[in-house]
């Protein structure tokens, strides 16, 4: 699989299924949110995982840092198998990995000041004296450009704009000096003009501190500008993986191609033509299609092949992997 040596995080054929009972007395069925995903994140790199809602990208992120226990496969952090480690033995992992949540309006405790929000992780991990903690909170605020820190530390979340709240969330994820940050749609709730400044901030932090990012998003355009490699997910599967430039310049999977074609750039001629859009909707993850999960919507699917045999990821170009029988 794609370069696990020296990786900070390796997912090896990870499956995360959720058991559901659709009605009383009916047998349990499984929703296959993540179904056999393998990837590796190197120290200090940003890997974007892009997909539509319900494709399993958030579950993948939560499984990667063991907020969810996978039902199959292996999760390795820095070479150590953490697939089934008990939560209480994972305190060290909680310090090394952090999450930037999606919704800056819901994720901060409204009764806490910014100072308390940022100090809490330090208290949980019993780090430093009160004076040291104050210094750390202030330097985290400076790192996210909320200056003067003394001024912002005493604010409550409702006194801050959406962009400022998301800066606090980024500061909170930094305060324990983690090695890996999972950013799950960190800017999807923000306005266009603010969005870029938060992504730029994360990029800068990553370069300065060599933090690895798993950037989970539905937005190909921001993934293009703010990550090193990109993985495309469809219906619980990774369908394409490679360097951002290579994947977006020459998308090999028909799904990636369709996803790109559906995003318009501002051009006054756009209104005179239809957007190339695939019919149908992503499948239900309880009973996904046989063979390639994309075959019912795929414009080039071949009967007898794509609907029968599941394609494996193969390295079609250097470092550029695709799970499609027909890609060449």
């Amino acid at each position: 699989m794609p370069g696990p040596e020296g990786a900070i995080l390796v997912l090896d054929q990870v499956q995360t299924y959720f058991g559901l009972r659709q009605a009383m007395f009916k047998p349990r069925v499984f929703l296959k949110a993540v179904d056999g995903v393998s990837l590796a994140i190197q120290r200090g790199e940003t890997l974007a995982v892009v997909g539509e809602s319900g494709c399993g990208k958030t579950t993948l992120g939560r499984t990667a840092v063991r907020l969810i226990e996978p039902t199959g496969g292996r999760v390795l952090y820095d070479g150590q198998d953490i697939t089934h480690t008990r939560q209480r033995d994972l305190m060290w992992l909680r310090r090394k990995t952090q999450i930037v949540p999606q919704d800056p309006y819901a994720s901060a405790n409204p009764a806490y000041t910014v100072f308390k929000i940022l100090e809490e992780p330090l208290l949980v991990h019993r780090i430093g004296t009160p004076q040291e903690r104050e210094d750390q909170v202030h330097s985290a605020l400076e790192a996210v450009k909320m200056t003067p820190p003394e001024f912002f530390a005493q604010k409550f979340p409702h006194m801050l704009s959406g962009g400022q709240r998301q800066r606090v969330a980024v500061a909170r994820s930094l305060i324990l000096e983690p090695e890996l940050i999972i950013a799950d749609e960190p800017v999807s709730m923000l306005d266009a003009s603010v969005r870029i400044s938060i992504l730029e901030l994360m990029r800068q932090i990553q370069e300065e501190r060599r933090v690895a990012f798993l950037y989970i998003t539905h937005d190909l355009a921001t993934a293009k500008h703010f990550s090193d490699r990109i993985g495309i997910m469809y219906a619980g599967k990774l369908v394409e993986l490679g360097p951002v430039k290579a994947v977006l310049k020459e998308p090999l999977h028909p799904y990636t191609q369709a996803l790109m074609a559906a995003i318009p750039d501002p051009d006054p001629q756009n209104r005179f033509r239809d957007l190339p859009a695939l019919p149908g909707e992503p499948p239900r993850l309880i009973d996904p299609p046989t063979g390639c999960r994309f075959h019912p919507r795929c414009p080039i699917a071949q009967e007898g092949l794509c609907d029968v045999e599941e394609p494996a990821l193969r390295e079609l170009r250097p470092e550029h992997w695709v799970a499609c029988h027909l890609a060449t």
Partner: protein
């Protein structure tokens, strides 16, 4: 003569902190069969403009005035009852942002589409359902979904139902308030294609409210850029999108990451102003890289012919 002509529309809200100047002297025309895109960041007054046009106002209105002429009828002079019975939904309707999540879970969607026909046109149940089914098929849905409930439909199908509801009374103009904001890109593309087809086949006019300039170009014949309760630039899509005149429009275009170019997106420093105490002079001046003394004092008028922008940089002879 334009289908809809809006002149000096004002909508202010009363709050404990003071008057919020949500819509502050907004003027634009929408031509028959054409689309005006109203583009801006959240809180710039796009949705308030829609509420003002449909006269769907909250209780704390401080000031509501201006001239709105729709196909020869002056709307602001009509009393509320007349407006409700003759104008709203019959001649001008709206697809609300997130409306697909506001469908009743208890009533079959077909009945929800048919309801305005029974209320407004006093149609019989059979007539209303027949017309509703026609509207549902017109947005690319199979007739059998009439009997289904909202939870049985996917996001894209629900959004089609909501569009059918806005079209069932055959209005001449429809306001689309972020009609695809809750949808995935592929579903969004399908809905945009539907809106294009309806525009072409039924020569519908739209006011298309969005924060996404790329998406605006899918429908817009004309583009109006809103900032802090005002339209700062308005003109044909052919002018505004490739060659924006106002610094805010330029910055807004530059801040959107583009999929097909390596041009680095650039953020706009600062944040939009508080609409209770907007900055003096040009409201964009605190964030504008080109601001000079006059911008801080005097409110700029529109300059330009086809593409009009409110910016002192464009003053002739400067």
């Amino acid at each position: 003569m334009p289908l809809l002509s809006v002149k000096n529309l004002v909508l202010h809200y009363r709050t404990r902190k003071g008057l919020v100047l949500a819509v502050d002297n907004v003027s634009f025309d929408v031509e028959r069969g054409q689309t005006l895109a109203l583009v801006g960041e959240s809180g710039c007054g796009k949705t308030s403009t829609a509420s003002a046009l449909l006269r769907m106002l909250p209780r704390n209105v401080g000031k509501y005035e201006g001239k709105v002429e729709l196909d020869g009828t002056e709307l602001m002079g009509l009393d509320d009852e007349k407006f409700r019975s003759d104008v709203r939904w019959r001649r001008i309707s709206i697809v609300f942002q997130g409306a697909m999540n506001a469908l009743s879970p208890m009533i079959p969607v077909g009945q929800q589409v048919a309801e305005p026909l029974m209320v407004h046109l006093e149609a019989t149940k059979e007539e209303a359902f027949a017309k509703a089914e026609e509207a549902v098929k017109n947005v690319g849905l199979p007739g059998y979904i009439m009997k289904q409930y909202a939870h049985e439909l996917s996001g894209g199908m629900k959004q089609r139902v909501v569009i059918a509801m806005a079209l069932v009374m055959k209005p001449s103009i429809v306001i689309l308030d972020e009609p695809t904001s809750a949808l995935d890109v592929m579903t969004q593309a399908n809905i945009m294609n539907l809106l294009k087809t309806l525009k072409r086949d039924e020569s519908l006019s739209y006011i298309f409210i969005t924060h996404d300039l790329g998406l605006s170009s899918e429908l817009a014949d004309a583009v109006a850029i809103m900032y802090a309760g005002r339209i700062v630039e308005i003109g044909p899509a052919e002018n505004v999108l490739p060659n924006p005149q106002h610094p805010y429009t330029q910055k807004l275009l530059g801040s959107a990451p583009k999929l097909r170019s390596d041009e680095k997106p650039d953020s706009i420093p600062g944040a939009p102003p508080d609409l209770i105490k907007p900055p003096a002079g040009c409201r964009f001046h605190p964030r504008c890289p080109y601001a000079f003394d006059k911008c801080r004092v005097e409110d700029p008028p529109y300059f330009g012919e086809r593409d009009r922008a409110a910016c002192w940089l464009l003053e002739p002879g400067r």
